[in-house]
């Protein structure tokens, strides 16, 4: 591909033109806009333009009480809302010195991991849709529906759960939940095998993903890309292992790492992560202790002592960091949300240079972006 080498040296042979992929385009799920300068089908520059659904969650946090910000956390990444609640609740608990009872921590892990699977299933379907395969999307949504039903029965909502509280969770799990979750785990394992033989082994898909959109570990480091992106580049960085929170220390799971850094590596990381999440859920259900789900003595109006603290979790898309600054008032002084999609997208401009349009869209899909997570 000589055109590619010409591009990397900065010269273009002919005219370039600009196409807008988004904010309304089938490949940008949500309102992301990519301003692509093209030389034929080759991209010379792809500049992401974001902010179309910016809602200023951070300012909202400063204008309401600590507890009132909780519903907001479900609306940042609507596909993996549990992790966002977890990070915020964790940060406030850390600041205020509250410890959730063990049963609550186990429930948090189970629900977070269920949510991670459901998020990865949406990614799986949407990614395949980007690649032109429609049917796996509906199979994935069928499976996801089972998770949503389980979580809806527990929390009352299908996406914006708002289930965690400072010092625990708001509802205890019942036998139906435990039975339903066990059934789902048993159901999902053969489903994963089916996905692998339907999709992963497919020669068309392999040709489209292997060696496409290579992101180096160094690039991930410089851009702060995390989650399946950095794990697909050969770095086994997972917040659940490096800064173990909740009860992840007591659970046995592997961090899937693929060194290739291409779209296929990121694909396989996520597929493998679903299997690992099933393992975590199974263990957590086995170990689920009895006891209360809310810590006693949590004040109704919380005033954490002055100072700042952070809490990081491994959300479905990567490292999520919540930094809170308290001035010992009933409202936060500052809430900072460091969202994984934001950092993962920031490397797109560099990574997509010189790619062909369909490959660049495969790369975009493999980053697994959720636009409200970028725009906040």
């Amino acid at each position: 591909m000589s055109a590619l080498s010409a591009l990397s040296s900065g010269e273009t042979k002919g005219e370039t033109f600009v196409i807008n992929v988004g904010p309304q385009h089938p490949a940008t799920h949500g309102v992301l806009r990519l301003k692509m300068t093209m030389d034929g089908e080759y991209i010379t520059r792809a500049e992401p333009v974001c902010g179309y659904i910016h809602r200023m969650h951070e300012k909202m946090g400063e204008n309401r009480t600590w507890a009132q910000f909780l519903p907001n956390t479900g609306r940042i990444d609507y596909l993996a809302a549990m992790a966002y609640s977890h990070a915020y609740v964790g940060a406030v608990e850390r600041a205020a010195g509250i410890a959730a009872p063990p049963r609550a921590e186990y429930i948090r892990v189970i629900t977070s991991e269920l949510n991670r699977i459901s998020s990865h299933l949406v990614w799986f379907g949407a990614f395949l849709l980007d690649l032109g395969g429609f049917t796996p999307l509906l199979y994935a949504f069928d499976d996801r529906e089972k998770i949503l039903d389980i979580l809806e029965a527990l929390t009352g909502s299908r996406l914006t759960y708002s289930y965690y509280r400072f010092g625990g969770v708001c509802n205890d799990v019942d036998d139906d939940f435990i039975r339903g979750t066990r059934e789902f785990v048993a159901f999902m394992r053969p489903r994963m095998k089916m996905y692998h033989s339907l999709v992963t082994d497919n020669i068309i898909l392999r040709k489209r993903l292997i060696g496409i959109g290579v992101i180096s570990a160094e690039m991930c480091r410089q851009y702060g890309a995390t989650g399946p992106v950095i794990r697909g580049s050969g770095v086994g960085y997972d917040v659940r292992k490096s800064e173990p929170y909740s009860v992840y220390r007591d659970l046995d799971f592997d961090v899937p790492v693929y060194p290739e850094g291409d779209c296929m590596a990121r694909y396989l990381v996520r597929m493998e992560e679903m299997v690992q999440s099933l393992r975590i859920i199974e263990q957590a259900l086995d170990k689920l202790p009895a006891g209360p789900v809310m810590a006693s003595g949590v004040p109704r109006t919380l005033k954490p002592p002055a100072g700042d603290c952070c809490f990081a979790v491994e959300a479905a898309r990567g490292r999520l960091l919540v930094r809170i600054v308290s001035d010992n008032k009933e409202m936060p002084y500052r809430v900072r949300l460091r969202t994984p999609s934001f950092c993962n997208l920031s490397l797109y401009e560099e990574a997509s240079q010189g790619m062909m349009l369909p490959d660049a869209l495969a790369l975009l899909g493999s980053l697994d972006l959720v636009i409200p997570d970028i725009d906040r």
Binding site: P26, L131, N202, M356
Partner: protein, 330 residues
């Protein structure tokens, strides 16, 4: 030529148009229902029993929409493109023998005619993309040209192979040669070409690529080019492209049936007729739908690699093999 011949031809042309129209409409329904079944959902159910009136509702909707020519587009070409894509498919069907006597024009160069007119198809879609004055459409048009040119070569090589095996360009004669039990069909004629089933698969793949069907739907490539060459078309302008796509599928499947699967011949050697032709054709059409709802889209250079590096060498070698086998056996 008798005096009735022009009237007979006219009648057949009207019949073919009706056949294509009805098929296109109901293949949309079959496609939607089929896709739904593959994805374990019901598909259209609300309009008519089992959604049977859905195609008519769709047609009325498309007809009621404005035919909008985007400002700055080449109006003449923009309007002509849908017609140019529709007519070759119709003409191609005029030489297809549905049964021994049910054929509009039993000409001696039927094979050649289908290909001659089939090539217009490429130009028509390219024109639609080019005249739309839309960047997505332009990219799509460029893709279509290289794709269709690339796949026409292996397809022609396969057809030449068949031509050598059958020794005639008359489609009816090709079918008549395959009379008898199903092992007499060309696909099982391993005596002339030991790689015959492979040749059939190559033909089928090329047919998918020529009709721009998934997994080779580079032209539409929804997640990349919105709707490709048809982005700017609204209403029935788009509808005609849609019908033409199905007309081309029917033509391709009919052609494959004639060349490889014994056309209107029954697999048991008795009770041959139009029923067998339609059955075989629709099984192929179903396979086309089945393929579409199973696979992701190919990447563009993989698509060209497949043609130039795999299908052309293989089809060329089957051609040579056939030539050698036929020479040796004779």
């Amino acid at each position: 030529m008798s005096i009735i011949e022009p009237f007979r031809l006219l009648l057949f042309l009207v019949g073919i148009m009706a056949f294509v129209g009805l098929n296109a409409a109901y293949l949309v329904w079959v496609e939607r229902k089929g896709a739904a079944r593959f994805q374990r959902r019901p598909g259209p159910t609300e309009v008519g029993y089992g959604g049977l009136l859905q195609p008519i509702a769709d047609g009325i909707k498309l007809l009621s929409k404005q035919l909008h020519v985007p400002p700055g587009a080449d109006g003449v070409l923009f309007r002509a493109a849908p017609l140019l894509v529709m007519i070759p498919a119709m003409i191609g069907l005029a030489v297809v023998p549905f049964s021994e006597s049910l054929v509009a024009r039993d000409t001696n160069v039927g094979l050649l005619m289908i290909f001659a007119f089939g090539s217009i198809n490429v130009m028509a879609i390219m024109l639609s993309g080019w005249s739309s004055r839309n960047k997505y459409a332009i990219i799509s048009a460029a893709r279509i040209v290289s794709q269709d040119v690339a796949y026409e070569i292996p397809m022609l090589l396969v057809v030449v192979t068949m031509l050598m095996a059958t020794g005639t360009m008359n489609l009816n004669e090709i079918v008549q040669q395959q009379a008898g039990w199903f092992w007499r069909w060309n696909i099982f004629r391993l005596d002339v070409n030991p790689l015959m089933p492979l040749t059939f698969i190559i033909f089928f793949v090329c047919m998918l690529a020529e009709t721009n069907r998934a997994p080779f739907d580079m032209a539409e490539a929804e997640s990349e080019l919105v709707a490709g060459a048809f982005t700017e078309y609204a209403g029935m302008g788009f509808g005609v492209f849609f019908i033409a796509e199905y007309a081309n599928i029917i033509l391709g499947c009919a052609f494959a049936t004639i060349l490889f699967l014994g056309g209107w011949q029954s697999p048991f050697g008795v009770w041959s007729g139009v029923f067998w032709f339609l059955l075989k054709m629709y099984v192929l059409v179903f396979t086309v739908i089945w393929v579409r709802w199973t696979f992701p889209r190919t990447q563009f250079y993989n698509l060209l690699n497949l043609s130039w590096k795999l299908l052309i060498p293989i089809s060329l070698s089957t051609l040579i093999l056939t030539a050698v086998v036929m020479k040796v056996l004779k």
